[in-house]
Symmetry: C2
Subunit: 458 residues, 2 copies
């Protein structure tokens, strides 16, 4: 029986398991649901045991638990693959906006509605079906590669304990490749793989001028105004081509290959539709790049917030004592967040006029971008696996932001490939989240092919 036939034959069983799991409201951001997150981990552990994983453990953290499972390949020289996903879900507010109960999974047509259906329970569960399908297709009783699964319980609340967990359990997590199943495809008709995610670092910039707000009649025009200086500083962040002027900002940037840019250009991108999603009246951005390239391939500087002086009703003709701005920088592969922070500090100092004092406060060390190596056998295996499942060419996409993926790549020192079948229209993080059942089954089939392809190419 080939993988597809096995999967078709076990569709109802798969959906019934998923239904059970989706009924557990495992919202990690809400303390009153922390018991549910623990129940969700236990449910998954039981399910993976039933699937046949010889080793299944619930790993406690100072926060909420992850689930670890391992199924060794028969061949001890076969590569090891680690699958990452998460079993916690987003909150459901505003709950009144849901057409059916968020934790009462409801099938309408091919869409299964429930919180977590797409992000990420459906995508974790297709791996259990996929490994069984691989075994059915090969007739073996162990997978062709060693499969480890690491399914986190705090992804939707910032993965705060996850890097430490990976460091502590580093020896158990050793792998040749990490497969991330927590992203989207371009559309149901256009299968694609995410091949990169931007990193981020962010800073609060403070400019302090006079000791107190001054009367602008007496002092205006004769002392430096912190809000004026902040406007000048932030305006200087981009040059006329909207390149970023922070010293050394582009150092090390790994440019996307012509092949990748060409594949991106082939995506059926409708800018008008994108603008309506963005609720914006026009595009904007760095000269020489398309909109998709701007959000996927290019680093950016974004003013997230800004304040100073009199911000209430009416007028108050003052020179304000201080000005403040929060700025985030999206990073691309090759950029070092630490060096970017140094550059930002240098930039702020260089743009602080005499008489003002500047401060920079970075909220943390920042997150590196991550990307797949498009020329690697692993990437080629994954693409080929998806192409077999979908019967179509698989294109490349990226994502503009990221979760814990860069930490996974760094701590486990493993290349990442993204195999996932969510859609942008799945409304993850919003009311009426759903997943396309046919795509989940394609995901299972992709996984089944992937284990074989990886074994063959290693």
């Amino acid at each position: 029986m080939d993988a597809r036939a096995y999967i078709e034959a076990h569709r109802e069983e798969f959906l019934s398991s998923l239904d059970e799991w989706l009924r557990i409201p495992s919202i990690s951001a809400e303390p009153e649901h922390h018991e549910d997150v623990r129940a969700s981990a236990d449910w998954l552990a039981d399910h993976l045991r039933a699937t046949g994983f010889p080793t299944v453990e619930v790993w406690q953290t100072p926060g909420l638990p992850s689930v670890f499972a391992e199924w060794p390949a028969a061949d001890p020289d076969a590569p090891t693959v680690l699958v990452y996903g998460h079993h916690d879900v987003q909150p459901v507010d505003p709950v009144e906006a849901w057409e059916t109960e968020p934790f009462t999974p409801t099938l309408r047509g091919t869409s299964l509605y429930a919180r977590g259906a797409s992000d990420d329970k459906g995508q974790v569960l297709f791996h259990a079906l996929g490994v069984r399908a691989a075994l059915a297709a090969s007739g073996a009783d162990a997978p062709p590669v060693t499969i480890k699964m690491l399914i986190e319980g705090e992804e939707e609340s910032g993965s705060v304990h996850f890097p430490d967990l990976m460091r502590e359990r580093r020896d158990r997590l050793d792998c040749d490749t990490a497969v991330i199943s927590d992203t989207t495809m371009w559309s149901a008709d256009v299968p694609s793989m995410c091949v990169g995610m931007r990193g981020v670092t962010d800073v609060q910039i403070d400019l302090h001028g006079p000791d107190r707000d001054l009367h602008s009649g007496s002092f205006g025009g004769a002392v430096p105004n912190p809000l004026q200086a902040m406007s000048d500083l932030l305006s200087a962040l981009h040059d006329d081509d909207n390149h970023i002027t922070v010293p050394g900002f582009y150092d090390g940037v790994v440019e996307a290959t012509d092949e990748e840019r060409e594949l991106i250009a082939r995506l059926p991108f409708d800018e008008k539709e994108w603008l309506s999603t963005a609720a914006s009246a026009a595009t904007w951005g760095e000269k020489g790049y398309s909109t998709l390239e701007r959000v996927w391939l290019r680093p950016t500087a974004e003013i997230n917030g800004m304040w100073g002086g009199h911000i209430g009703e009416g007028r108050k003709t003052i020179v304000p004592a201080s000005a403040h701005a929060k700025v985030s920088f999206r990073l691309v592969p090759g950029q070092d967040p630490v060096k970017v922070q140094q550059g930002v500090q240098e930039f702020v100092e260089a743009h602080t006029p005499a008489g003002l004092r500047a401060g920079t406060d970075f909220s943390g060390p920042g997150t590196r971008a991550c990307a797949s190596d498009l020329s690697s056998p692993t990437l080629k295996a994954a693409r080929s696996a998806m192409e077999q499942a979908f019967g179509k060419e698989v294109l490349f996409t990226r994502e503009g932001g990221s979760g814990p993926e860069a930490d996974i790549a760094e701590i486990l020192d493993a290349p990442l490939v993204f195999v996932a079948v969510g859609l942008d229209e799945d409304r993850i993080h919003a009311p009426n989240e759903k997943v396309e059942v046919p795509l989940l089954l394609k995901g299972a089939e992709s996984a089944a092919h992937l284990w074989r392809e990886l074994a063959e190419r290693s």
Copy 2:
């Protein structure tokens, strides 16, 4: 008996009257003191009647009353002078910072401490003493010019009803010159006259972008960011020489004469001391002008407040939906606030990138600057009068902001001269306001000389 001898002889009487008046807490900004403001008007009316003014009236407004008095010259062809001042005072908070009770006048050395001692009761009252001194000196029973006094009761709460009052009573207020006694001199040792006050207009600028805050991972760097656009716009307000780039902004500006700039340069200005008053670590401003010229002679653009996006704790990586700024423009003689507002509107439109919507909201029609004509006989008479009283050359100053003075000049269509003896160190509007008694007496003497000088020069 000459004016000075008369004034010296009546010092105690003057101080005892002032003591009475200062005990009335005529705080116009505090409704619980509105009865006191009315009592203050009545007290002044009685005092001017006792001084000898044949006509004294309390003029009601929808707010608090002004006092009007008139004493016609014997010669029907003599010029008419209107004296402006105010009888209301600032609030006294923080009251615990006062060394003696704000409404219990206390003489320490030559300083008389009380709320309103300098601003403006002391300076109004020296005119009553001055006119009696003028009569004593001339031996006549009417002053050499027709003297009208118009003493407002709402100056410290924005003069809201004062322009209407002047318009309604326009015929009674007809005059050849308005003498304003509500400013300061450079210092006790450096007598000076204010010869101009800047006007002001202010605007709130709003830039609207996406319909809601957007996730910067998904949209950052590809849609216009309103805070970025606002920073660019505000940064473009000044060129590299800190000239203002609003179209037509400098149209009609009446430059100060070389004589005035020269007199300003002769003021013993200590920039270090000024910076400590400004609580600023450095000066800043338009190229080609000194600090005093920047605050007195030059129009400015000042960002008073700015806000948008995430301004709370922590980070929120968004493209904000909107950005807001409050900007005030100090104006100099010759600038038309209406034309400046048109220029600002034009400037905002020209600096709004595609995809953003801009709004401008001016808080009112703005206030013109006002200035004395330095070559006029009136100004020369006033300067000569002060020089006789002080026995020294009188220099020129200006003020960076203004109260109702421009309205007085415009509604009464009369040139302004500023004769006043307050000091910057009098702490008007702050705890422990005081006035120098010797300067009040010099003020009375200046007034006495002024009436004679004006009559002689007309």
